[in-house]
Amino acid sequence: MLSTTKKSKKITFQRAAVTVVAWLAGLIWIVPFMGILMASVRPQIELIHGWWNLEEVHLSFDNFINAWNHPTAPMGQGIRNSLLVTIPATILPLIIATLFAYGLMRLKFPGRKILLVMVVLLLSIPQQMVAVPLFRILNDMNLINTLPGLIITHTSWGLIWITIFMRNYLSTLPPEMEEAASLDGANRLQIFFKIVLPLSLPGLASVAALQFTWVWNDFFMALITIYEPNLLTATQRIPLLKGQYSVDWGVLSAASLIVTAIPLLVFVFLQKYYIKGLIGWTTK
């Protein structure tokens, strides 16, 4: 009896110690993000000496309004452009890559194995490897410096990982239902849209969450394809908000929160699929 209470006391103490250590470690992440949050709602004059000084606090949304309507890099316009790029650049590769993955798996045609190996090889190509010729090709097609140019770039780029991801996902689906539908006289396209796609919804949700976030967060591809000030995406505007020597931390923080809010919403609503997709993708 005595020894069990002793033991449980020891366990309680240990748990309390672990909790304290975990929270102290957590502070390393909590404090910087809290800083951004605080800076976004306080005037610059209070931030110069540290957002943690709470002697005089004036809360307002001025920084958000100023970031949204910023004279050189209005975030409102950036959010609009980013949405116009990200939504099609999520849906298009999702459809094209799932068609491709299904075709590579079910259709028997010569060269399909080589095609799959080639797509796997393309995975290891970094964006830097295509940057300069891509710029020239888009330029030749009159797509440089246009939102469709960026959409097609992200669509092609997304195809690579989504094809592999969906190929792995589709191979876990039971083929019986497709066979039954085929016996009922349905053609490939009907089978694909009526049976395969509905069965793949969880996988498609993971892909959509990740592709949306990656396209939204992209900076490099946007930087090389778009330079017209009115067409810049949201992420492209962040570096334009700060001068070389003095930075308006409040406006920068508010703009940062505005840009991050969209992928954050995607994460909050699709958390399960997001994490499943990330883990499934990296540890396949």
């Binding site: 110069i48 000496h49 094209i96 259709l107 830097q128 097609i152 195809l159 992420t235 883990i279």
Partner: protein, 299 residues
């Protein structure tokens, strides 16, 4: 018979051609062109490995006059190498230890979410955050340094050649730990509780259990974390671009940034292609290592 063949062809075309066409025009052709640019001069004449010799031995890539004993700029390869040497062990260690610490602690899911915020944040924003936390007056790091009496280190870290790269690396640890934490957390949940109970009966303490059960059983996760993190470090760009622009004085110009500035500032496609090929080659090496290591851990 012919009709059936034609139908099969249309089927194959419908499912595969859109992807094949897009991949060919916007990925494969540009990649092959970059490869050929790297062995040509500006006039399009074949010059063999001339560009590689010029680029890889230039001061922008490794500056042996200054590296490692004088102050930066040291060149892109040392910059990326230092990044890997500091960032990789920290990310692996922090991710694993935090995953264990946060297994069942009051508020664990809140702490995990905050750490994971770094993964959702665009890296361009991440660069701004790094500048902010290391700012001389507005930054929390310098406030802490002042608080503990280390006044000689107080400064805007990203504005000085000696500290810019270190600030970026430490900041990138902050932003990337969410990745390893999530992978390790999901890996931990697959380890059967009985292993720990058996070890406890045998008298193993918490540290011994961590070293002898947790670490070896998480090896497949560690392989993934290491390879994905290496790839990320190799291609790091957005964060540096927005925090320092590669400066001051080139002190944080990593490979991808050097590639960009050669291509789109200096307009030297051939030299930029060399760096692109170099990054790709390193990526391939990591990819091969990953697939071998994965096969090894399955046995």
């Amino acid at each position: 018979m012919f009709k059936k063949k034609l139908r099969t062809f249309f089927e194959v075309a419908l499912f595969t051609f859109p992807a094949i066409i897009l991949l060919t025009i916007f990925v494969i052709v540009p990649a092959v062109q970059t490869l050929s640019l790297s062995v040509m001069n500006a006039d399009g004449e074949f010059v063999g490995l001339q560009n590689f010799k010029e680029v890889l031995f230039s001061k922008n890539i490794i500056n042996l006059d200054r590296f490692p004993f004088k102050s930066p700029p040291w060149g892109a390869i040392p910059d990326n190498a230092i990044w890997i040497l500091i960032h990789l062990p920290l990310v692996v260690l922090l991710g694993m230890v935090l995953a264990v610490l946060l297994k069942d602690v009051w508020g664990a899911s809140f702490i995990k979410s905050v750490i994971f915020l770094g993964m959702i944040t665009p890296m361009v924003v991440g660069g701004g955050i790094i500048r902010f936390i290391f700012d001389e007056h507005a930054g929390v790091v310098n406030a802490i340094l002042r608080g503990v009496g280390l006044d000689q280190f107080v400064r805007s870290w990203t504005a000085y050649p000696d500290t810019a790269l270190l600030a970026l690396i430490l900041g990138s640890v902050l932003l990337w730990t969410g990745f390893s934490l999530i992978l390790y957390s999901s890996g931990l949940s697959t380890i059967p509780q009985e292993y720990y109970e058996a070890a406890e009966v045998d008298g193993a303490n918490g540290f011994q259990r961590f070293v002898h059960i947790t670490v070896p059983l998480l090896k497949p996760v560690t392989i993934t974390v290491i390879s994905m993190t290496l790839l990320w470090e190799l291609k790091i760009f957005d964060l540096v671009y927005s925090a320092t622009g590669g400066g001051p004085g080139g002190a944080s110009t990593v490979l991808a940034l050097r590639m960009y500035s050669l291509a789109f500032r200096a307009l030297d496609s051939n030299k930029s292609a060399v760096i692109a090929v170099l990054i790709t080659a390193l990526t391939l090496i990591i990819g091969v290592w990953l697939s071998r290591a994965n096969r090894g851990s399955e046995d």
